[in-house]
């Protein structure tokens, strides 16, 4: 089949028949089970742990406490190794910790023969604390008692800059304030936006297990970046890389949360301590909420000044990002967010950015689908509508006057836009959603309707695919031919539901003409076998790993043709592959099949020919990057007295370059859109403000969208050709989430005239705003 076709997922039948095995399904029968003892304070120190009772409980094998673990610090971010020590991930984690940094921090671990017995024993453990007041926001934490020795003021990192009108960036640390005025610039008063932390809520909870084979440690984990996990585990428990083998089987979603190293060092450490026995840890949903990673809560202050022609002259943005208890990705998420603000729209005179990430006593925040841009987009795209409204401009036109264009040179990463579908996306969405008619019609309707208000809003985004040049972007692929002309494809790229296995297979099929049903992509990554890949993040699997598959398939094709030439005497440059046959290009005459070639070279026994097991392998290194674009138009109704938003329809139009599998690509849009709707309307992690205790870490109190919350969705692709992507493709998995919250916010603004500055836009928050705006008489 090949690319640009809706090939069915390779794993679809396995998944509907229940034969797809996930980590928990593979735990060895005689495994021991871990229950982690979590702190019941948010900030302080463990003074003592009494496990005497636990040790006497039936089935208990051992209890590990924070006083028994190695002191050296390791990093947990799922990033490739940075050879530049200045860009290395922060090492601030130990396997368990006596210094408690958030409510639920890991202070001890019970190992028993069953999960239940481990849990019962864990409940008997008594902990003595020295407690400090929780610092839940950057405002409180900055300048408070240090949470990590290496970071005395709790400011994890800063990135401040000014971009000159010529596009030169100067990094300079500015004064930082938390009020609406950008520090030192009294002329720049901004609007403040607030977004809460949220959770990825993949339906498979995080889990892992480890056991030893001789001197080697085998770790199973639902992790998006197996090669990085191997490095982090080796570092955490002090083993050579080659002695650690990470296996990633099927994964029940990840969305960035499974990019980081979580409890793998703990189970590996315990396994080694227990003579290599299998030690397993399956988190509960409550733990997955609190003890993995979150999307950063942020306060964003943004200024957009435009002249009378609608051209933006000044732009400033300050981000205060709540990093939580451990660095994880450090400042990378906030840095991604703040730079994007100056990539999407350009100001002619002044462009000023200030960003800070703080350690606080909340669960650690890190990567989640969109990597800071959903937060930024909410502030930036809301403000675009507010400025347009204040001046009486059409919000779409105002955006068009200021957004970057084809040929734009990114001030930070210095790459040039060579595929640009943003304007077409805007126009297509405008037409599909009947924007112009509805804007008029709803204005009319709202004049006479008191309680029910109708609105249509839009928002757009630009989003980088992959993270080159900030980090190395590379991936490898290996194709191993079998003697019947079928092949095994080995990749380090990880399938977590997004469909990368299928697309990579399509790419190989395209070059080799071997149909997908005669190709096997080894879906489980085993670091003993899978070639290196940075893993699944930054919407990079099709774009980067796809290029690796392409490069490898092209090498394989040449190899097969050379062999065919040796067999037939026809020069290789006159041959091509067609229908799995070496074919004379000019006449179309089939000479021999791929099966003939592979079989011959594997088994020929003529006393002169060297046999060959035909394989190909290649590593792709990115030297370029691109933007994906898209826009969301949302049609909705607001029941003002109830503060209830009823979504009528979402129109989502995207430029992700050439679409390699239309059906799977549409699925990515659906999922991303709905995750964005959840972010907009209901999701938030709540914590007791006095104690830092999580209040809604379960799927009943945390409002994940159900099928009943989802409106009709219409998706459309504007296809462009990106020269740096395989077959012209660009990233797709993260972007659809980004514009949903601001599009809803702008539709509410259109409906009610009330600007909202805070997520989620749930009835509670909306009623509050409507009362303030006098729409509801209190």
């Amino acid at each position: 089949m090949g690319v640009q076709k809706s090939v069915s997922r390779l794993d679809a039948v396995q998944k509907v028949t229940g034969t797809a095995k996930y980590v928990e399904d593979l735990i060895l029968l005689d495994a021991l089970h871990v229950k982690v003892v979590h702190s019941t304070i948010a900030n302080g120190t463990v003074k003592g742990i009494d496990c005497s009772e636990a040790l006497k409980m039936p089935g208990v094998v051992t209890v590990l406490t924070c006083f028994d673990v190695p002191e050296h610090l390791y990093a947990t971010a799922g990033h490739p190794l940075s050879l530049d020590p200045n860009h290395a991930d922060i090492k601030d984690k130990t396997i368990l910790s006596a210094r408690v940094r958030y409510y639920g921090d890991d202070i001890a671990a019970v190992v028993a023969d069953t999960p239940l017995r481990a849990q019962l024993a864990a409940e008997t453990i008594k902990v003595e604390y020295e407690e400090l007041a929780p610092m839940l926001t950057p405002e409180v934490a900055l300048g408070g008692d240090a949470l990590h020795e290496a970071c005395p003021d709790n400011e994890l990192a800063r990135m401040d800059f000014e971009i000159s009108p010529e596009g030169n960036v100067s990094f300079e640390r500015k004064r930082f304030s938390s009020d609406a005025v950008i520090a030192g610039r009294d002329d720049l008063k901004g609007e403040q936006y607030h977004v809460p932390p949220v959770n990825a809520c993949h339906i498979e909870n995080n889990c892992c297990f480890a056991y030893m084979e001789g001197r080697r440690m085998v770790v199973y984990s639902c992790n998006q970046v197996p090669h990085t996990l191997r490095r982090n585990v080796a570092e955490a428990i002090g083993m050579p890389l080659g002695d650690v083998r990470v296996i990633k089987p099927f994964m029940g979603g990840g969305f960035g949360n499974k990019q980081d190293t979580m409890y793998e060092p703990l189970v590996a450490f315990l396994s080694r301590k227990l003579g290599g026995r299998c030690v397993a840890l399956v988190l509960t949903r409550e733990e997955t909420f609190v003890n993995t990673r979150t999307r950063h809560g942020m306060d964003l202050t943004t200024v957009t000044v435009a002249d009378e022609r609608g051209k933006i002259t000044k732009k400033a943005l300050r981000i205060n990002s709540n990093g939580g208890a451990y660095a994880a990705h450090g400042h990378a998420v906030a840095a991604y967010a703040i730079t994007n603000c100056f990539q999407t729209y350009i100001a002619s005179e002044l462009q000023l950015g200030e960003s800070s990430t703080a350690y606080t006593n909340l669960p650690p925040a890190a990567a989640m689908r969109g990597y800071g841009i959903p937060q930024l987009a909410f502030a930036m795209e809301s403000q675009m509508d507010d400025v347009a409204l204040a001046h009486g401009w059409d919000p779409i036109e105002f955006r068009k006057w200021n957004m970057h264009r084809d040929g734009f040179c990114d001030p930070f990463d210095k790459f040039i836009v060579r595929s640009y579908g943003l304007e077409s996306c805007i126009d297509k969405g405008r037409e599909l959603s009947h924007w112009d008619d509805k804007r008029r019609e709803y204005d009319e309707f709202n004049r006479s309707s008191k309680d029910i208000k109708k609105g249509i809003g839009m928002a757009l985004f630009s989003y980088k695919t992959g993270v080159y040049p900030i980090q190395i972007e590379n991936a490898a692929c290996r194709i191993v031919m079998n003697e019947d002309g079928t092949a095994q494809i080995q990749v380090g790229a990880t399938e977590l539901g997004q469909g990368s296995d299928t697309v990579l297979c399509q790419i190989v099929s395209e070059f080799t003409t071997i149909p997908e049903n005669r190709l096997t992509l080894v879906s489980a990554q085993d670091t003993d076998i899978a070639p290196y890949d940075n893993g699944a993040y930054a919407s990079r699997q099709t774009y980067i790993s796809g290029n690796a598959a392409k490069k490898t398939a092209m090498i394989l094709r040449s190899k097969l043709l050379e062999k065919a030439s040796l067999m037939t005497g026809v020069p290789a440059d006159e041959l091509t592959l067609k229908n799995e046959h070496a074919t004379v290009e000019s006449t179309g005459r089939e000479l021999c099949s791929i099966a003939d070639i592979c079989s011959y070279f594997n088994f020929v026994n003529d006393l002169k020919t060297d046999t060959e097991h035909i394989t190909a392998e290649a590593t792709f290194t990115a030297k370029d990057i691109c933007f994906s674009y898209g826009v969301s138009y949302i049609d909705l109704e607001v029941d003002v007295p109830l503060g209830k938003v009823k979504l009528k329809k979402v129109y989502s139009v995207h430029d992700s370059g050439t679409i390699l599998n239309p059906q799977l690509a549409a699925g990515q849009l659906h999922g991303g859109i709905v995750m964005g709707l959840g972010y907009a309307l209901g999701e938030q992690m709540l914590f007791d403000q006095k104690t830092g205790k999580p209040l809604n870490n379960n799927l009943l109190d945390y409002k994940l969208p159900t099928a009943m919350d989802v409106p009709e969705i219409e998706t459309h692709f504007v296809e462009t050709y990106e020269p740096s992507g395989p077959f012209g493709s660009k990233g797709l998995a993260e972007p659809p989430l980004i514009p949903q919250a601001p599009a809803i916010r702008n539709a509410i603004l259109h409906a009610t005239g009330v600007p909202i500055y805070k997520l989620p836009m749930n009835p509670q928050n909306l009623v509050h705003e409507f009362i303030r705006a006098n729409l509801i008489k209190s």
Binding site: S8, D25, H202, I203, L704, M708
Partner: protein, 156 residues
């Protein structure tokens, strides 16, 4: 205290000793190896553990195994037609790309089978309600609804 229970699981009689407090999810997964029964919350919020008990979709994580004594259980492992083909619901899930990570899939397929067996037809809004006990974080439900509509939709 262990108890002996008798069930019919995927068409086969099973006599098992189970703990009194054991959930049907754990029994099916750990004692019978039916790992298609997934765990997303273990408190009845996500639907990943759905099985059919005497043809009715239930969250097996909040169903004690001792209650299953004398009943018939179906998981997707048991869902094959006589000639070992996929069930029409499974086929529709494959063809409509209603699967991404696949973790919610077995549960949703079984709810789909329950709808098929009801003999009724449903419009899209009714289908939304019927599957609202299942959380899927990947698909936005869109293709799942398309798949179900193909088999039990008003116009199918």
């Amino acid at each position: 205290m262990m108890k002996i229970i008798n069930m019919v699981v995927n068409g086969k009689p099973a006599e098992l000793a189970v703990e009194e407090g054991e959930s049907l999810t754990d029994t099916l997964r750990n004692r019978l190896g039916l790992t298609s029964v997934k765990k997303g919350c273990e408190v009845g919020e996500c639907g990943a553990c759905t099985v059919l008990i005497d043809g009715v979709a239930k969250n097996s994580c909040i169903y004690l195994s001792v209650w299953a004594d004398g009943h018939s259980i179906l998981t997707v492992e048991g869902l094959r037609t006589e000639d070992c083909e996929l069930h029409p619901i499974q086929k529709a899930f494959v063809e409509e790309a209603a699967i991404q990570c696949g973790f919610c899939t077995p549960g949703l397929v079984l709810t789909g089978v329950e709808l098929v067996n009801s003999g009724k037809k449903f419009n899209r809004e009714e289908l939304r309600e019927q599957i609202s006990g299942h959380l899927c974080r990947c698909t936005g439900y869109e293709n799942i609804l398309n798949a179900l509509e193909r088999v039990v939709g008003k116009n199918s």
